[in-house]
């Protein structure tokens, strides 16, 4: 029957394309639907968004002002030391509101100080000079460009550190991206213990080595008279008898001798009574520094400080070479393991705040997928059924096109590695509903044309050609809205924009090209002899 008439080359070509579209859709969806993958064929499954597969979405803010004030504090220590050697006397030095405030002995100190500043710290500006009795208070501010630089690189560095830490957590396909000036977006699909991930990501992990100040009295310092150049920090110990946590004060030299930058590796080891501790290996540069520091300070106590808490302050018995050190403390194995991770991955330049957290447990995600898919399928079946009831055979052809439309959207998403989210499923439902629009337009037009007495072929062709522009106009306007939606939205909403726009674009192909090819073929093969719409 098919051979009654020779098929035109153009029609053959069109039918082949329709066939290829089906093959393409099925090939790309096979792994998603069957769960199996076949050699030589696409293996990717459709990516589910965090809201569907479970996981954690974090929007973090880097407290860049902290990075700035850390930088200024280092600068301040440096300046006070070099001032001493130049015999410019500063009685007090403080960092206040991202500015350095120095209290100079008297007015005579100003000219040499100005010269010193211009020579060695050209990026610092004297913002204010105020006389307080004999003393002079000088306020120094950093060049705004330099400030911007420090804040900027703090965010970059934080991003890098977070990435390192997440890599060590073993999350598959995490997404870590900078957003705007100081925000970092972290997406952790399928993560089982979001709280642990959060604490690992957010730990500043600033490791510092400082000398214990043994020249001054701790009690006196605690009563409020902290000597210049020293600070009080606390350690936490668990009381063996009561089991309570006790804070132990330490009087330390403010100057940091070495930081976590010098650490190459950190791992958990076990000591007496199987107590975990962390063993540090220094980089070659760090090892030399450590050797020098311990060599110069034999007999003194060196405090090991992590994020402002003193972990231990052992006495340096001899020069330590070999580039190793240990951190001991009251930790559990898990704590020690997580600590080792953050020490390996490096410190954050500043602490992080959580602006937004969205965590979906895996059971909820699965529920949502099932319910969403069921809703789309029921809606789809109703639409398919309606089309058949209303348009009979023409409805069947439109239905085939609609099914192909839906499959192609998903297949293209697999191909583009786009993510299906919960609102994305809503976008699919909308595609199902709107997907038959073009065919309804065409069929209604064909009815009109044949009512006017046109022969079926002409009615069919006119039905398509006269509605073509309308369909384009209608789809493009929806596309305009979808594009702005994509611009506006975050993760899940983007997923909505994705399925909606793909649905519209593919619909142009399925509802016009595919159905026309099928009708032409059916007429040519004389399966359809007349229009019964």
């Amino acid at each position: 029957m098919l051979k009654n008439r020779p098929m035109g080359g153009w029609l053959k070509f069109r039918l082949i394309i329709v066939l290829l579209a089906w093959v393409f859709a099925i090939l790309f969806l096979l792994p998603t639907l069957s769960g199996k993958s076949v050699a030589f064929l696409p293996k990717e499954k459709i990516r589910l968004g965090l809201d569907l597969q479970g996981g954690t979405h974090l929007l973090l803010e880097v407290k860049t002002e902290e990075a700035l004030s850390n930088f200024l504090t280092r600068l301040k220590t440096e300046i006070t030391e070099s001032l001493k050697s130049k015999r410019i006397f500063a009685l007090q030095a403080e960092v206040v509101n991202s500015k350095i405030e120095l209290l100079l002995l008297n007015e005579e100190m100003i000219p040499p100080f100005e010269k010193f500043l211009a020579d060695e710290y050209p990026n610092l500006k004297m913002e204010e000079v105020k006389r307080i009795g004999d003393r002079v208070k000088v306020t120094l501010s950093l060049d705004p460009k330099e400030q911007q630089n420090i804040e900027d690189s703090a965010v970059d560095q934080a991003l890098e550190t977070i990435r390192n830490r997440i890599d060590q957590l073993g999350v598959t396909e995490p997404e870590i991206a900078r957003q705007g000036e100081r925000r970092i977006l972290v997406q952790l699909p399928g993560i089982k213990d979001p709280e642990r991930a959060k604490s690992i990501i957010g730990k500043t992990a600033l490791l510092e080595f400082k000398l214990v100040d043994e020249e001054h009295d701790l009690q006196e310092a605690l009563s409020g008279k902290v000597p210049e150049g020293s600070i009080i920090l606390y350690g936490i110990k668990r009381d063996k008898n009561t089991g309570r946590l006790v804070k132990i004060p330490y009087l330390l030299k403010e100057k940091t001798l070495l930081t976590g930058d010098a650490v190459k590796n950190a791992r958990v080891a076990f000591g007496e009574f199987n107590r975990p501790y962390i063993s540090l290996t220094f980089t070659s540069w760090g090892a030399k520094e450590f050797e020098r520091i311990t060599g110069e300070n034999v007999g003194k106590r060196l405090a090991i400080i992590l994020d402002g808490t003193v972990y231990s302050a052992p006495v340096i018995r001899e020069k330590i070479s070999g580039g190793k050190a240990v951190i001991e403390g009251d930790f559990t194995i898990e704590e020690a393991r997580d600590l080792a991770i953050v020490l390996r991955a490096g410190a954050l330049p500043a602490s992080l705040g959580i602006l937004e957290e969205r965590t979906v447990g895996p059971s909820l995600g699965k529920d949502l997928v099932e319910k969403g898919v069921r809703a789309v399928i029921i809606g789809g079946l109703l639409v398919l059924l309606f089309m058949i009831i209303y348009y009979r055979f023409f409805g069947v052809v439109a239905d085939l096109a609609l099914i192909l439309n839906l499959l192609l959207v998903l297949a293209v998403m697999v191909m583009l590695k786009a993510t299906l989210t919960l609102p994305g499923i809503a976008g699919l439902a909308l595609t199902v509903g709107m997907g038959v629009d073009a065919n309804i337009l065409i069929f209604e037009r064909i009815k009109e044309e044949s009512r006017e007495g046109k022969p079926y072929k002409a009615a069919l062709d006119n039905g398509y050609s006269r509605t073509l522009l309308t369909i384009f106009d209608a789809q493009i306007t929806t596309l305009i809205a979808a594009l702005f939606l994509f611009q506006f939205g975050t993760g899940p909403i983007k997923g909505f924009a994705v399925t909606l726009s793909l649905g519209i674009l593919i619909n142009l192909f399925t509802s016009i090209f595919v159905t026309k090819a099928i009708f032409d073929w059916l007429f040519q093969a004389r399966v359809l002899k007349e229009l019964r719409l």
């Binding site: 803010e61 979001p194 709280e195 604490s199 990501i201 730990k203 705040g353 959580i354 602006l355 937004e356 957290e357 965590t359 447990g361 059971s363 949502l368 319910k371 969403g372 809703a375 789309v376 029921i378 809606g379 109703l382 639409v383 309606f386 919960l422 609102p423 809503a426 439902a429 909308l430 509903g433 709107m434 038959v436 629009d437 309804i440 337009l441 209604e444 309308t470 106009d473 209608a474 789809q475 493009i476 306007t477 929806t478 596309l479 305009i480 809205a481 979808a482 702005f484 939606l485 611009q487 506006f488 939205g489 975050t490 899940p492 909403i493 909505f496 924009a497 909606l500 019964r532 719409l533």
Partner: protein, 294 residues
């Protein structure tokens, strides 16, 4: 074979005064609702925390209440959702890493014997929501401008004005209905409103296209051409809206979470959009003409 096509032309344009009056009343009511009641902004906009927690067996609500009080969440609302499942909502949010979830988890383990699973945590800080409103409005404005340009280019400016006014009408009334329903206004609702802009203009364009085609064919006056065009495309307008509403309604019935509110908004928007493309978008063009002639 049955068809939706009426045997006689329905006089849509002739009823434009009634239709416009009804529409104006609804638009006015919506604006009133928007000003007086305002959207019930959800955590996406005002910040806060929602924790979805499911217990293995049911627990007395009082004990959950006590746990919440003890971690400083006196203002928290406990909302049952599903079997042994509760939503805990609070305006509080925490920037700290060890946030509300951890405090709650710790206290629950300490005081309750039942096993539980935290199914979902949503925490939005106040900083995030702040710029969302203006961002949403901006997106809306950009879509309208984009459509205005496109339609002016494809049709005529007077048509574009009609289409845009109809769209604003659709979004306002949908928003009014949404506010009236008391549902929580979150990010996906903005997405739904944007989608309505895109969807509702479809119907209008189909009618406009037919008007343009008929204007080439006959010399009849604009009013008659418009009315005939609306009639000729009527079956399509209704059929398409019908299939779309079916698909979206299924989401409302069977879906869960944000999808429910999304489909509610879409359903209203589609219905209002369909009405406006018949009664508002084209009649406004006639009105626009009359005003211009004066």
């Amino acid at each position: 074979m049955f068809t939706l096509r009426p045997s006689k032309e329905i006089d849509f344009v002739g009823k434009k005064t009634i239709a416009l009056t009804i529409s104006l009343v609804f638009v006015f009511l919506s604006i009133l609702l928007l000003i007086i009641k305002g959207p019930n902004y959800g955590i996406d906009f005002i910040g806060g925390t929602i924790i979805d927690i499911r217990f293995e067996k049911d627990i007395p609500l009082d004990s959950l209440r006590m746990v919440l009080d003890s971690i400083g969440l006196k203002d928290a609302i406990i909302q049952p959702s599903g079997k042994n499942e509760y939503l805990i909502r609070t305006k509080a949010s925490s920037e700290a890493l060890k946030g509300i979830r951890q405090a709650l988890e710790g206290k629950l383990v300490e005081t309750l014997k039942e096993k539980f699973e935290i199914r979902q945590v949503e925490m939005v800080g106040p900083k995030v929501g702040k710029d969302l409103k203006s961002k949403g409005l901006k997106a809306m404005a950009f879509v309208l401008i984009g459509l205005l340009i496109y339609i002016s280019w494809r049709f005529e400016f007077r048509f574009a004005v009609g289409a845009i006014l109809a769209l604003i009408h659709d979004v306002l009334i949908t928003l009014g209905a949404f506010i009236f329903s008391g549902r929580e206004f979150n990010l996906p609702i903005v997405a739904a409103l944007l989608t309505i802009l895109g969807y509702s203009i479809n119907d209008t364009i189909v009618v406009y296209d037919r008007i343009r085609e008929n204007m080439k064919k006959t010399e009849a006056n604009l009013e008659r051409i418009i009315n005939r065009s609306i009639n000729e495309t009527l079956s399509r307008t209704i059929l398409t809206s019908f299939t779309t509403v079916i698909a979206v309604l299924m989401l409302l019935f069977f879906g869960e979470g944000v999808v429910k509110d999304l489909s509610f908004t879409l359903t209203i928007g589609i219905i209002v959009g369909t009405y406006s493309s018949i009664y508002i978008a084209s009649p406004i063009v006639i009105l626009f003409e009359k005003v211009k002639r004066k």
